[in-house]
Symmetry: C2
Subunit: 454 residues, 2 copies
């Protein structure tokens, strides 16, 4: 593994990260029993076990943002009948030929058709029918003249609108000719019967929901949003709003990760914090599995004596699933657990407990998995190249580092340091700066990859 400086012409000697952990990982990498996985390997392994959720039939508006799993065929033409695109008069073309304001065509109004009307008075020679936008074209009519091309039946000059509501029939003066089919929307001109309106795989946004309603669909078969249960672990955690005793901190991960899960498209349930007792954690997970399509925990996955998630879920009996705990070549987020537990082999992500580590881990592994569960393409964040004016003084050799950054105007500035406890800096960042595995620093002014977070 060679080390290098991003933006430098030649490699420099590798420098270890701020915590001098490079050599440790070098050693671990040589140790078969203690393998280190790359970010890409871990993501690949995670996604390889994720199957999109089984489709269900949902009410149209409940399917917003979901992926259609059926080709939706149009049962009947849209529009279902020839109809007017304007408020005006349905006429025969010959009757208005050569009409002008000076020499208007004078027609007898024999009826009035509102949208939704089933009664269609036929239009004979010398006749017109008042017609509203969307109303069916009556028999005999060949075109529609907008009301503004007429006197609106007033006997005066050009009208700007119709008289509201039904009025006594009379005469209308038409001031302009119309070509055949003018202002007529033909039956099936939007979509024909038997055509496919939307194909399987389409994501249902507002216009797609509009189209499905228009073709008469009240329900639709989609992959549902995954239900993601989020819990944090640690005997030091106290809910926000409560006072802190010595050694305690507020639980923030369960809130942040619940918000992350929703942001990724999931229906998220925040369970809260569970203490460092394996039996309690196992019982809590057992309770929660009933409503979970995926579980996210934070904390308790490292090499400590009370790492409760690792303790509770390592070496599960085969009939309860299995969770694999790994070390990844990344900073933050080195310790990670992933597996499938319970009778349905529900995917479980055991993220590290430092807030920044858990956030970055969610972004890299859980967000793509939530999307894959929905049947969406796993990757959705935009990555851009940007100049980093300050550069990065040191980055651990052999690890991909994700630093918090603020991106604007094609430049990215680092926000806070590399410490994975720096929540304030995370909350003021809008991007992650990626320092690749083979770089141990980034020269001031060099270009870096930047993952945009919003």
């Amino acid at each position: 593994m060679s080390s290098s400086t991003v933006g430098a012409a030649a490699d420099r000697d590798g420098r270890n990260g701020p915590e001098g952990r490079g050599s440790r990982d070098g050693r671990a990498g040589r140790d078969g029993a203690d393998r280190v996985w790359s970010v890409d390997e871990h993501l690949r392994d995670v996604l390889a076990t994720i199957r999109p959720l089984e489709p269900i039939e949902l009410q149209l508006l409940d399917a917003q943002g979901c992926v259609l799993v059926e080709d939706v065929t149009v049962p009947a033409a849209l529009p279902p009948f020839d109809n007017s695109s304007m408020d005006g008069y349905a006429v025969r073309v010959a009757d208005v030929q050569g009409a002008s304001e000076e020499f208007p065509a004078v027609l007898t109004v024999v009826g009035d058709i509102a949208a939704g009307s089933a009664e269609l008075p036929p239009v004979g020679p010398g006749e017109a029918v008042r017609i509203m936008t969307g109303a069916p074209l009556p028999p005999g009519a060949e075109a529609v003249v907008p009301v503004e091309w007429t006197d609106g039946g007033t006997g005066g000059g050009p009208a700007t609108a119709m008289t509201a509501r039904r009025e006594p029939l009379g005469e209308v003066r038409v001031h302009r000719p119309a070509t055949a089919r003018a202002h007529v929307r033909a039956r099936g001109s939007d979509v024909g019967a038997g055509e496919i309106a939307l194909s399987a795989g389409t994501v249902l946004g507002p216009p797609q929901i509009g189209l499905l309603a228009a073709v008469g669909r009240a329900t639709v078969t989609v992959r549902p949003r995954p239900r993601v249960v989020v819990l944090s672990t640690g005997s030091e955690l106290v809910p926000p709003g409560e006072g802190l005793a010595a050694g305690q901190i507020h639980d923030s991960n369960s809130f942040m990760l619940t918000a992350c899960a929703r942001d990724a498209g999931a229906i998220a349930y925040r369970v809260g914090a569970v203490g460092d007792d394996p039996a309690t954690l196992r019982a809590t997970l057992e309770d929660q599995l009933i409503r979970a399509d995926a579980v996210v925990t934070s904390g308790g996955v490292s090499v400590g004596a009370y790492d409760v998630v690792k303790e509770a879920l390592s070496g599960l009996p085969a009939d309860e699933g299995s969770v694999d705990f790994r070390r990844l070549a990344m900073q933050p987020g080195k310790p990670q657990g992933f597996g499938r537990i319970g009778p349905d082999r529900t995917p479980l992500f055991a993220l590290p407990g430092n807030p920044v580590s858990s956030y970055v881990s969610f972004e890299l592994f859980v967000r793509p998995a939530v999307r894959a569960l929905m049947g969406l393409a796993p990757a959705d964040r935009t990555t851009v190249r940007a100049v980093c004016p300050e550069g990065v003084g040191s980055s651990p050799e052999g690890k991909r580092q994700y630093l918090r950054g603020h991106y604007a105007d094609e430049a990215v500035h680092t926000v806070g340091g590399a410490g994975s406890h720096l929540v304030k800096a995370l909350a003021h960042a809008n991007a992650l700066i990626v320092v690749p595995e083979d770089a141990t620093s980034v020269e001031a002014g060099a270009e870096v990859d930047v993952v945009l977070l919003d």
Copy 2:
């Protein structure tokens, strides 16, 4: 008003739009009583009357996506105490000076500190305390050595992890020296007491929610999401899922606009379709106002005889509010109503009823208003320049035209025609192509403005 072709060196003669409506609007424009507003004028007038919603105190996760209206000050330093960033041993620097694998420092383990522990055994000379990530640094300790720099108390070689749970105290061999404060996170190093964690105006995404929880906030004062009531109008409308009689179509706008409102950030309530009866519409609106921060209607705003929204809401008594009906210099979406109704002067958007018109109108006027109600910057869509290989054959003079397009790889292709009933094309578009007021066509291969819709 001069007409021109986008991408052409010189102006051409103006051509009317497909429906030959250019001259009509030209005439209307000359008529003071029948003024035509530009898109920009209308948006400005809409936004001038929108006031951000009154702030309310919400549970942290209910505030996701909302705008903070308070500066959140940190009551106590974060972290609240010096703590370990690693699982390892708290030591005195002098005791591990010069330590190596060959010549380890041998220390007496006098205690074990889990995260959340309030009991802190002091570290004297020649002593160490086993300590977990996040646990408070005990008195006397100056640094933490990670467990991997030790034998983990086993008497063997370098450890990869600690023994799970509490174990008999004994000795630990340390293989590397540590500098003062190594692997110690100082009290207040994330954020100090009295500092501002987040300023008023911040949008609360997952990391911001994490920070608020970390500083102990269970609730937060934000502008809430607006509750938007959506209804469509038209006696021809039948709910999807039901059969169509002659002259009827399915209601699609109430579904599409509800989805649009949610997509813009609102809590949306779909009322469904109301027939073309002004009394019924007024009664429905009166009922709905109790749960509405804004109302969106579609249909019934043009120049027809049964334009129910216009009929019900034009010329309201002064104590019931007022709604202004306008013609805009745009296609689609020419007829628009906007005003404030009811005791709270709730903003009401009366959008045109053609599905594409209502969609484009929502994008241009309601989406920015929903954002303004939340205290967000009104504009959020990205507009890019893109080549339009086919060009646009004709665009109505004096109107800004929004055509449906599909944008990819820096080019935009038109999808479907200009007809405002073409829902299928809308559902296959991902962008709006903007043809400016002074252009009557776009040359093939010319650049156009493109509003990206997702």
